[in-house]
């Protein structure tokens, strides 16, 4: 069934490029003819990346059987790059973030695909080996500053712990490093702050502490799961520009998960749009914002209030995203897509990649 089939058929020119680039399309270890030289080239290409994610899938084990929350997600992060991951609630952004750090529950969740951190494959690592990467080479910042610090530990205890998790270090040296880290994040009176309890700090300060901790070991990648959503706009802006400067200086790459497209436009180098567990479009921020190719991206952009004249009616994306248990065959966005055609319910689109990024749609929009 295809209730959303539009009355008019969009005449569509030939897809610009259908050649899949080895950097984004080829799942590692996948079958298919490959010259040895090609593989080598692929590996060097990938090890130059801070993070490469290939066909990452996460399945939840439930009483009704396995549910796929993340479906073959692939993207790359270059050193110093900020990649924004956007998508509506429940599309799988947080699950992706956790899977990247190996923080999924091994009993109820199974993870497939490949995650390469600075060229090293993470998924086959033992728990101990993975722990030694977490916080040192890849860090995570969470959304709610009120809950992401242990209320019964001082700021100093948190930072000492974060340092000692990866190196043996004396109290004095740790103290100095912690003070510097806080000052880098624009926290004044740092020695005093180290003695403070989390409940004595404002939300903005707490989030700065969390970010300072994420930066402690100069990781290659920081995954930030809506880190400024709970903060007011001024604090948000300050923190964002500080983080941006730090990323530039230290070469740390950011995967920045957010709902806020205004932030994305100002702040991200590239965007990945997620829908129902899949990445439906990637590309340079400017290109995605000016000429989105996936109908869902288009719809998301149409929902941004800043893009409207005063008094003009806001667009909404009608309908709901499919539930994990009731995932339709064909394209997952079909029921809500203004561009949908008959074939959309029969063919699951495959990711197409070209120099402008990638998209997952049978009938992409053309500018």
């Amino acid at each position: 069934m295809s209730p959303a089939t539009p009355k008019t058929t969009v005449h569509r020119p030939a897809i610009r490029t259908t050649v899949s680039s080895p950097e984004l399309e080829t799942p590692l270890g996948s079958s298919g003819p490959k010259a040895p030289g090609h593989t080598l080239e692929l590996n060097t290409a990938i090890s130059a990346r801070a993070l490469s994610v290939r066909d990452l899938s996460v399945d939840f084990t439930t009483a009704q059987g396995p549910l796929r929350a993340i479906d073959r997600v692939s993207f790359d992060l270059a050193p110093g790059e900020v990649l924004a991951l956007v998508g509506e609630s429940g599309s799988g952004k947080s699950v992706t973030a956790r899977a990247l750090l190996g923080l999924t529950d091994p009993v109820t969740q199974s993870v497939g695909g490949a995650v390469l951190l600075e060229g090293e494959s993470l998924l086959p690592l033992s728990q101990a080996a993975w722990r030694s990467r977490r916080g040192r080479r890849i860090a995570l910042i969470l959304q709610d500053p009120m809950t992401c610090l242990d209320p019964l530990q001082t700021v100093g205890a948190h930072m000492l712990e974060a340092l000692r998790a990866h190196r043996s270090i004396g109290q004095r040296e740790a103290h100095d490093i912690a003070v510097q880290a806080l000052e880098r994040m624009g926290i004044g009176d740092a020695p005093q702050r180290l003695r403070a309890w989390p409940h004595q700090l404002s939300g903005g300060l707490r989030q700065r502490v969390s970010i300072a901790m994420a930066l402690l070991h100069r990781p290659a990648v920081i995954v930030a799961d809506e880190p400024t959503t709970a903060l007011d706009v001024t604090v948000q802006g300050q923190i964002l520009s500080q983080v941006q400067a730090l990323a530039r200086d230290s070469g740390t790459a950011f995967l920045w998960i957010t709902h806020d497209l205004a932030i994305v436009e100002r702040f991200a180098d590239r965007v990945a749009v997620m829908y129902a567990g899949q990445i439906v479009e990637t590309g340079q921020t400017a290109r995605v914002f000016s000429a989105p190719r996936h109908p869902y991206t288009r719809a998301l952009l149409d929902c941004v209030p800043q893009r409207y004249q005063p008094g003009e009616r806001l667009a909404v994306i009608s309908g709901l995203a499919p539930s994990l248990a009731g995932m339709p065959g064909g394209c997952r966005f079909r029921a809500r897509c203004a561009q949908a055609q008959v074939d959309c319910s029969h063919w699951a689109p495959a990711t197409r990649t070209d120099s402008d990024g990638s998209y997952l749609c049978l009938h992409p929009l053309t500018p």
């Binding site: 992401c148 712990e161 309890w197």
Partner: protein, 324 residues
């Protein structure tokens, strides 16, 4: 922090004062002690003289203040039967009871808390379900039955451990106690285990539930993302966060162990306070009952004070004044 602690101390003293009044009213004003002390055929004059000698002709307030004054001097009257000081009788038995309660608490906390935390971390595993099932079973088995079972197995069948009595011939830090010798410990082991079993089951379930809740929190995920290793995650973050509610329960349960260990004391012929109290109640030996009540109330108040102080140390949010 210090002023908070002082406030708690003052509170405790007020509670003690109130409780002394309740105990006084309960035991001294309900019924006439003379009925117990004086033969029924005595004359009115003799009764009046005896009443005067005991101060019973004074006003209620005066009597209470006298009682309070004596109590502060450590004099809670003499047993009607043995004529020895009531407080002395209680204090003679107190070490045995405390010893037993302390061992039971050590077993229950030492095993229950780690098992509870482990069960919460490995929540979905098969072994966890088995352990939690056993803990639930532990609730439904009566203590005396467990005691008898233990005696049958370890004393009668295997003959490894004595079936009853206490041996305090050994010394630890100059105090005569069961902890002072192997013989003492062997006498202590069975009653302590049988008393601990119910509390162990309780602590496993409580620790499990509390830990599950803490593990859901963002700061646990954040700590793991920083590479904090499991022993530190569970031993520092989880333990301290469940610590406040856990010490509260442990404190209450320890008080209960001291006050209500009578069944176990009977089964194992353990010379504790419980046995003394039952005898005193049966013979209407009021001074002993009063002494018992006051000692128990003092103990409960002290435990509560300690629990409150531990909470202050563990949770900075409870310290209002001071820091800022």
């Amino acid at each position: 922090m210090l002023s908070e602690a002082a406030a708690r101390l003052l509170q405790s003293l007020l509670v003690l004062l109130t409780m002394s009044a309740v105990v006084f009213a309960g035991v001294y004003l309900i019924g006439n002690p003379l009925d117990m002390l004086i033969p029924p055929q005595a004359s009115e004059l003799e009764r009046a003289q005896a009443g005067h000698a005991l101060g019973l002709d004074q006003s209620l307030i005066t009597q209470y203040l006298l009682f309070l004054q004596h109590a502060l001097e450590g004099n809670l009257g003499r047993s009607f039967f043995s004529n020895s000081p009531a407080l002395g009788l209680i204090l003679d038995r107190l070490p045995a009871t405390i010893e037993l309660a302390l061992s039971a608490a050590l077993i229950a906390v030492g095993l229950g808390v780690p098992i509870g935390i482990g069960c919460a971390w490995y929540a979905q595993r098969f072994g966890t379900r088995v352990l939690l099932g056993l803990a639930t079973l532990g609730f439904s088995v009566p203590t005396f039955w467990v005691g008898l079972l233990l005696i049958m197995l370890f004393s009668v069948q295997l003959q490894w451990l004595p079936s009853g009595g206490r041996d305090a011939s050994g010394h630890l830090f100059g105090i005569a106690t069961s902890f002072g010798s192997w013989r003492g410990l062997s006498h202590l082991l069975l009653p302590a285990i049988s008393l601990a079993l119910f509390k162990l089951a309780l602590l496993i379930r409580l620790t499990y539930a509390a830990t599950r809740e803490v593990l859901q929190q963002d700061f646990i995920l954040a700590a793991r993302a920083r590479g904090v290793a499991l022993p530190r995650l569970l031993g520092v973050h989880v333990l301290r966060n469940i610590g406040v509610s856990l010490t509260q329960v442990i404190g209450l349960e320890f008080g209960a162990l001291v006050a209500f260990s009578i069944v176990t004391e009977s089964v194992f012929a353990w010379p504790g306070m419980g046995k003394l109290l039952i005898d005193a109640i049966n013979s209407l030996d009021r001074p002993v009952v009063v002494a018992y009540l006051l000692v128990t109330v003092t103990l409960f108040t002290a435990i509560n004070l300690v629990v409150d102080l531990i909470a202050l140390v563990l949770d900075p949010r409870l310290r209002r004044a001071g820091l800022q």
